[in-house]
Each structure stands twice: as structure tokens, then as C-alpha cells.
Symmetry: C2
Subunit: 301 residues, 2 copies
């Protein structure tokens, strides 16, 4: 039953719907599902995150020079977690791959998220010599110069991990290059950086309500949505998915990211129709994997 | 005649030595060469730099969103130039490759140098809320937040360029992955970032003269030397060089970078013996390429 388990902040929320999601997308309005909320994180989701963390702890050991690796280790695990790395592994398994084929990509996505978060909170002086006012206050464990440098070290390290994950037995070098292109594009001028500019502009201008909502949507499209789309597409690419599977999962990831970003910005009302669009992208996987329910759980209710 | 043309700040300096460099490395001290200084940049070096610039201008067009691409374009070309990208192309041609096989790697190295330079000069507030004092003053064309973001966009873009340069006709994906590993390592925790930490520490401590020289050497090893070694090795890898050729050119690049870094730090006296070590690495290429003289020109007199 697609869409049976929805996901709220990492905890599973079981919905018993009287109709299957497949047919639900053709009917409007759907009957409201019965909701039973549990307090346990989804076990599949928890197992993926635990594997990613173990992989990264091995990849960033606490070794010499400690002045480099200690902040790298700390800042990687101190950044707020996202569902992007786990979505990447899920997509890989959904197309029939083994999660280890996408482990480096999932870890790279976690690292890049940590670098972005670290740099986003650096206290910079503006061109008029004024201290920053708009940035949210967070605890800085290190001198900002160290945090800037560490972020700069984490970004290439993410690409190194990915490039090193080539497995001659699977002849996956072209898959890895494709994943590098996907990730570098979404982190660069066409994705997160453009989104950050838009976020900065949005925070500096005041407009009407509709205009405000549209502006938030543009920011979310370039940030959370683009990153989730990239994560899901990379997982599908590295798992050996077909072009159709890759594009379906990319769209699924995009919708999941849109929902998350809009909810975080207080626009839950805008997300209702997106859940159905997202679940529709998973229909081709129905009956082909026991994980369809789990991956559909990424949608925030 | 290896070592016939030496290179000072991009301009050729022709040395007429009474002995070939090959035999000179076995004799000490060498007779001082006669020196005729010209005012023209070395034509081979100039042609490589011109090709890299043309490639990058095409890769970073002035297109929408201009708020992203305009600073990216400006900061890429505003950073002080290094000889690393041209050395990369030279190494590629020296092992028998075509310069276009290494063009993306050379451009990636230029981009990463620009990102490092941009971030190195950001005005950050330290943990005590104090404005920076030690950083050299440079003109900031943009708000520091924009410069931070642009640097963060340039780094993944460098890897994107490289990953996209796969040419199925040459089946070069494994070469490209190897170059990505080389570049990401040297830019990350084991290279430039470690070097930047060491530079920061060196600028904050005061010691004896010998200690000071040794400290500068450690910094140069991780910065200029490691980057030139990486550039030369990547060129050789992408040009299809043998393992011996790759390692010889890596060592040559390392020595070239050491010389440049030490000269920039006022330690020209420390570089004399390094030139001979560098030229020795080029001996296996003698008679195999008309460019041996040109590549030996990278050594600063």
C-alpha cells in the first residue's frame, strides 16, 4: 500500500487509508486516513542513517594532523541532519542495487550539507565594516577562520570519497562520474548557490503575501527540493537503475524536498497536493520491492 | 639542452650554459651560465594560458542568473595567476597527449586556486567578536557574503567541469576519476587545508631563524609544492603517461612549487639545489618531445 506510512521528523506515522494510493490520485478529495502515531524512528530509515554514520566515522578518523581532522569530524556530525543521504541509499535499493554502491554518494551529500551549514553561519563583516545582524546565532566550536577552512576542506573531501568508490568489479566509473556531475551541479551555480542568493534576497525584501509565498517556493526549489532530487537520482544511477527509474526517483525526491522546505517555512497548506504527485512517481516500483512503503515514508504529512 | 631557458615571472630568461644540464647534474658546482634576459613571455607558456582562459570564458558565460555568474566570472579571473594550470597541460603534452585531454583539469586547478584566494581574504570576525587584523587588505568587489557563496560555488563547479570532460572515444573515465582523486586530495585535509592551518600557525608564532625557515618549508610543501605536483601528475595521467612518467612529473612539479614558494617567501638561497633535482626528473623525456625545454622553463631562476 503506497503511502501507507508517512514520516514526520524521522518518526513513522502509520496511516490506514481505505483506498490505495494508486487509485487515490485519480479521486479528489481523498478520504482522510486514520492516523496512528508511533514514537519509534522508521527502522529502515534508522538502519540507513546508522550505516552512513559508521561509513563516515571510518572515512574521517581522529588522526594526525588533529588540528585538521578534529574540526572536520566535529563539524560534519554537528550540522543538522537531512533526509537526503538516506533517500539516496533508499533509491539505490529500490532500483535493485546494494546500498553500498551508493554509500559514498550518500556520505558526500551529508558532507556537503555540513559544509554549507558551516559556511552559512560564518560571522562576516560586510563591505561597510559592519558586523552581521541577520544571521541566526549558533554556537561556534572553533574560530571562524578554522570553520571556513574546514568547510573548504570538506567540499573536496566529499568528491574524493565519491571518486574513490569506484569498484572495478562493477565497472562503475561512468556511474560515479555521472553522480559527481549531478552533485557538483546541484551544489554549484545552478542549485544551492543560486538558492542561497535567492534566500538572501528574499530575506532583504518585503512584498505581498502571494509574492512572499512564491519567493519561498523559488528558494526551496533550489535548495531542499534540488538536493533531494539529486540524492534520489544519484542513488538510482549508482544502483544501476534505468533512465525512467532515475527520472521518476528524481521527481519523487524533488517533491519530497519541496514538502520539507515548505513545511519548514510554515507553508504546510501548500504541500497537500504535492504528496500525491510524489507518490505517483513511485507507482512503477509497486510490487517490485519491499521498500516501496519505506521510501514513501519520506513524505512529511 | 635541458634547463636552457629559465623562467622568471612568466618571462623567458635564456641561459647559455657551457655544459648540458644532463651532465651538469653530475658535477658540482656548475659553471655560472651566461644570461640574456628577454621581455617576452615564453610563447609556449603564453599559448597554454590563452587556451585555458578561452576554455574558462566559455565555461563560465555571462548568463542568467547574472547575480551568480557575474561574481563567479569576476573572481575566477581576478585571483592572481599561478603556473599550475599551464604545468598541467605541459605535462599532458610531454607524455604524448593532446592538451585538450587535460584542459578541464587545468581549468579546475585555476578555479580552485581562485576559490582559495577568495576565501583566504574574507573579513571574518573572530570568536571574541574582534575584526581581523592579520589578513592582507585586498579590494572586495562584492559583499563578503557573496564572495563566500561564490567561492563555495566555484569549488563544485571545478569538479563538474572535470567529471563532464569524459570522452567516450578515449574511454578516459578512469583517468578522470584518478585526476579527481588527485585534485580533491591536494585541496583537502591532506594538502592545501593542512597548509593553510600551518600558515596560520606560522603567522602566529615567533621562533629562531632556522625554525622559521623550516616552518615556511612545511607550509610551501603543502601549498605551492603539493599543488604543482598535483597539476603535473594530473596532466601526465590524463595524457596517458606511464606510472614512471606520472611520478617523475609529480616530483618535477613538487620541486617547481618548492622553488616558487621559497622565492616568494624571500628564501631564494634555499632553492639552488632544488633546480638540479627538478631538471633530473625531466631526463627521461630528453629527445622525446620538443617541449622539454619549455617545461624546464618553469623553474624560477
Amino acid at each position: 500500500m503506497v503511502g501507507a506510512i508517512l514520516h514526520i521528523n524521522g518518526f513513522s506515522t502509520v496511516h490506514f487509508s481505505p483506498i490505495s494510493n494508486h487509485s487515490r490520485t485519480n479521486l479528489a478529495p481523498p478520504k482522510p486516513p486514520m492516523l496512528v502515531r508511533t514514537t519509534q524512528p522508521h527502522p529502515y530509515w534508522a538502519s540507513l542513517n546508522s550505516d552512513i554514520e559508521a561509513y563516515l566515522k571510518k572515512a574521517i578518523p581522529m588522526k594526525e594532523p588533529l588540528i585538521v581532522f578534529e574540526p572536520m569530524h566535529h563539524l560534519t556530525f554537528a550540522a543538522p541532519r537531512t533526509t537526503i543521504p538516506a533517500l539516496c541509499l533508499m533509491a539505490c535499493e529500490l532500483v535493485g542495487g546494494d546500498r553500498h554502491q551508493a554509500m559514498a554518494a550518500a556520505s558526500a551529500l551529508l558532507l556537503l550539507n555540513a559544509a554549507t551549514y558551516t559556511h552559512e553561519h560564518l560571522p562576516l563583516i560586510d563591505n561597510r565594516g559592519l558586523k552581521p545582524k541577520l544571521k541566526p546565532m549558533i554556537h561556534h566550536a572553533y574560530d571562524p577562520n578554522i570553520e571556513l577552512l574546514t568547510g573548504d576542506g570538506i567540499i573536496p573531501f566529499a568528491f574524493e570519497l565519491l571518486a574513490r568508490s569506484q569498484d572495478p568489479a562493477h565497472n562503475s566509473s561512468s556511474h560515479i562520474l555521472r553522480a559527481i556531475i549531478e552533485i557538483s551541479r546541484v551544489m554549484g551555480s545552478k542549485g544551492v548557490i543560486d538558492g542561497q542568493y535567492k534566500k538572501k534576497l528574499a530575506s532583504q525584501t518585503i512584498g505581498g503575501e502571494l509574492c512572499h509565498v512564491e519567493r519561498i517556493k523559488r528558494v526551496v526549489e533550489k535548495n531542499e527540493a534540488a538536493l533531494h532530487a539529486c540524492g534520489a537520482a544519484c542513488g538510482a544511477i549508482l544502483g544501476g537503475g534505468s533512465e525512467e527509474e532515475i527520472e521518476r526517483l528524481r521527481k519523487y525526491g524533488f517533491h519530497v524536498g519541496m514538502i520539507q522546505g515548505l513545511v519548514q517555512n510554515g507553508l504546510r497548506e501548500e504541500t497537500k497536493w504535492i504528496s500525491n504527485l510524489a507518490l505517483k512517481e513511485l507507482e512503477i516500483f509497486l510490487g517490485r520491492s519491499r521498500n516501496v512503503d519505506a521510501i514513501s515514508a519520506f513524505i512529511h504529512a
